[in-house]
Symmetry: C4
Amino acid sequence: MPRQQFQDLGFGTKAAEAQARLLNRDGSFNIRRKGLPFFESFSGYHYLISIPWWQFSLWILCSYIIINACFGGVYYLIGASSLSGIDGQTPFRQYIECFFFSTQTFTTVGFGRVAPVGDVANTISALESMTGLLSFALATGLLYGRFSRPVARILYSRHAVVAPYNGGDEEAKTGFMFRVANQRSNQLIEIEATLSLVWLENVGGRRVRQFHELEIERKSVKFFHLSWTVVHPIDPSSPLYGITKEQLDASEAEFLIILKAFDDTFSQTVYSRTSYKAHEVAFDHKFVGIIRTASDGITEIDLDKIHDHERV
Amino acid sequence: MPRQQFQDLGFGTKAAEAQARLLNRDGSFNIRRKGLPFFESFSGYHYLISIPWWQFSLWILCSYIIINACFGGVYYLIGASSLSGIDGQTPFRQYIECFFFSTQTFTTVGFGRVAPVGDVANTISALESMTGLLSFALATGLLYGRFSRPVARILYSRHAVVAPYNGGDEEAKTGFMFRVANQRSNQLIEIEATLSLVWLENVGGRRVRQFHELEIERKSVKFFHLSWTVVHPIDPSSPLYGITKEQLDASEAEFLIILKAFDDTFSQTVYSRTSYKAHEVAFDHKFVGIIRTASDGITEIDLDKIHDHERV
Amino acid sequence: MPRQQFQDLGFGTKAAEAQARLLNRDGSFNIRRKGLPFFESFSGYHYLISIPWWQFSLWILCSYIIINACFGGVYYLIGASSLSGIDGQTPFRQYIECFFFSTQTFTTVGFGRVAPVGDVANTISALESMTGLLSFALATGLLYGRFSRPVARILYSRHAVVAPYNGGDEEAKTGFMFRVANQRSNQLIEIEATLSLVWLENVGGRRVRQFHELEIERKSVKFFHLSWTVVHPIDPSSPLYGITKEQLDASEAEFLIILKAFDDTFSQTVYSRTSYKAHEVAFDHKFVGIIRTASDGITEIDLDKIHDHERV
Amino acid sequence: MPRQQFQDLGFGTKAAEAQARLLNRDGSFNIRRKGLPFFESFSGYHYLISIPWWQFSLWILCSYIIINACFGGVYYLIGASSLSGIDGQTPFRQYIECFFFSTQTFTTVGFGRVAPVGDVANTISALESMTGLLSFALATGLLYGRFSRPVARILYSRHAVVAPYNGGDEEAKTGFMFRVANQRSNQLIEIEATLSLVWLENVGGRRVRQFHELEIERKSVKFFHLSWTVVHPIDPSSPLYGITKEQLDASEAEFLIILKAFDDTFSQTVYSRTSYKAHEVAFDHKFVGIIRTASDGITEIDLDKIHDHERV
């Protein structure tokens, strides 16, 4: 029963009424979550791990400047005389020198040309160097976390195709297919695919959104060093049987895809998601071959052409 | 056999006699463990990873002060003359300066205004800077461990409800239900639920605590981006069949819940637990819908109302 | 077939001839591995993660002293005049000052009282501070690795017992039992046990070592917050059926145990192993109850008495 | 159907036409990937984690020199007068001193003999010490990542053999066998093996490459402390039944092997791969025994002889 299966995927029955795409091409959900206080839903680690590199660098740099501006201000307020080696004549010059002393303390570089003399300045600088070490530790952890996070960079063919294919036996079959490859040079092992379809169907005169899990000919492959063409055979048991391009477009169909794999470098399980909307499915097209045997007998794959398909 | 299943959950038959709740709302066990020497049962890492942030900060700060007070004391005992740049006239002032020199060594900031001159002072400061680096490393590891630990922050509805529901076919059914959502914005995948009931039953005239595993209509969902209403159908095979609110209260029933999921950000499996006591179950109430399609066609969930239920 | 199963456990048929214990009480293998060059079989990380704390500290301290003794020697050879602030008159005093300068560079504390002036000294100190940072980083990683490694600290009862037990129905049964508990306060989830027996049997007149996998009444429990008594029922299908204490001793029996669990704090799977030899099995003894309901209705476990058993 | 199974392994049907080995002895794929822009396929972390130690050290050292050469250049351009303590008379001498000041800032050793005085120099050195901390943090992470990465170092026997073996019952059997052992002293648990054959077969008059999954007598073993001889029984259902050494050579056969295990030290799943080509299979040879019981009753394995086999 479609409705049941729709819930199996974790979308409520209500979500079936959405007109917009459920899953974006990049695998993120096209769903709004409201009503949670910001701080409860916010996971700082998750945020800082996921933002682009330039944003992350900016965060680090700004935090560094702000923290030192504050500590510099504190030293200035204590009185610049509590730091030996301050030469500045104007308050502004003195603040600047306090700021730089703060950076030297925060990073523990501690040149010593400027150094704390009074008890208060010494106490602040003791706290600041401790804070500095811990802050950099955290920045470091985040930096390394970003760098080393296992992320499956799966290359999905831009379009899915519907075309005849050779299922191994001589009988001709038609299939819904898309092609995937590993964009990175690390090894992915034991890749599994799940393919689901959500579209509008006539149920009792009304057009309601329905869900189908689509059979895949080979749910998993051991290695993923070449490309993999995932095939859903369009046989009489498939909801796509006899469907034309026009019908598919009219049904607002969306194909939801989940890939699961084991990353050999990180020894961890990784997931990847994407979806194809009806207009991203090419009928009577087939993928251009990208695997060939080179003249030296070695198998070769040309990932440049992974998106290429041609009329049958 | 209830008794067997009770043991399957890992509670001995003796635990069946407890009158108190077995599992607290926050998922911790309401069980006392005695008889283990403190140091054998204590896992420092586990402790420092789990305490609240303010306690953790206090630990770090106190350790920092104590360590430097000790090292400062050692420098003072060696004789402040073994440090160049000490200006203090009274013993107390000298100790304070030794203390601050210690912080500068421990954090490796090493301004150099005060510096070790004798062999003993040099040896102590060589050891202290080494200790400092290792200690901060440890603090750092803990800090990062706290920050990056995969924790499932599951939002459980405050009450469970017993109400009719639409099981997909047109026939009316009654179910025991509770609602869960992901409080964080990270992705949880392949969520599985287990629901158990422990209550008092009449067995051979005596009221003894018995255990039942309750069937769930859909034991797992693929995605967990919206909310999920976990449903136990109260059909003739359910021990809850025909039970009234009064009977449930009298039986001191406790519903034990385990959720298991895969965290996409951390690539790790996470668990969450909770329980509902009889008085936290609302009869003839149903959950208020929180998923709707916004005017722009996008599915929307309002987590503010996750606890809301209304009379049927 | 016993021989097959013996191989299933990963011991060759040859290992069946050993007279010594296969598995020690602490779970390590009583097997010698020869013929591998030291460096190929040696995993530095594994070694430094597993040695006791005092050995690890000694390693760190010795490495620290040796590295600084070497760098100190290099500075001395360059000529102590290439360091400003060296006061020593004798070669030995100068070497000592070079050594301390080296520690200040290696830990990056850099007081600056002694500082490099020549190009060679500057180059060496640039390399040393880099080496220092990387070395401490490594020490740090190891320190944290040791601290945070998920280790199942399972408390096994000192003896296994053979005794009647109540299997849930009223019929009396005899079982081979041992009791386990979690020594740490962290949560272990989904604990699974495997129990195997290896002993001497008469096969065609010869006494040969044979292997049996023993059935366990409940192969896994969900939670492991209390103790768990693992029971192998000695029914007619068990190789232990009708065996006396004397026969068991004569057979040189060894019971091999593997526990597998999921650690909730570390989100990782952990294993624990142990074995009981025939003389560690108490016949006609049963374990003393250690779980009780306290006066406030809360379940209580007394781990002090986990090893306690008494004559039936 | 072989073709299907060939795809199950993740090699396309096209790869079946390759004449070269598919998998190298060290487990890497003998496949060329083209057409991806360097930066998209490149995973810096993966690269720096996998290169040999000498290359990694060179990377670190060169980066260190280049970064300091740049920062040194910046200080020189600002004007060496903005650094106190610069004594150099010639531009070259001044640049060298700037370079060394840069190393002292970058590593945060900060001796202070040379120290920034002007605002620009102070700003640059504030940025440099921050960059230094983050860079070393990254280098550190990589260093530790390399050191602690769970890698299964499986020792495969140099040759596979085809020989009679004792399958437990008295009837003689012939098997395809290879022998594996753990090269490291860490524990591998629950080892699973998969064995596949790819060779040329006559199909409809043409010689086409075909794939077969070969049955293994014991797909997994619990422990892996001794060696494990993986056996494929050559019975009538095996494609190797009745095949001679000459036929195997002519078929260009390649045996693909995948081992999967759980690493007890790292609590992670690890994989190992290798392959045997036809010329690496010794017919009518059997492996020399390497497990024996020493005079003290302890089982002993001699890994020196793991490759040794002798004529039957």
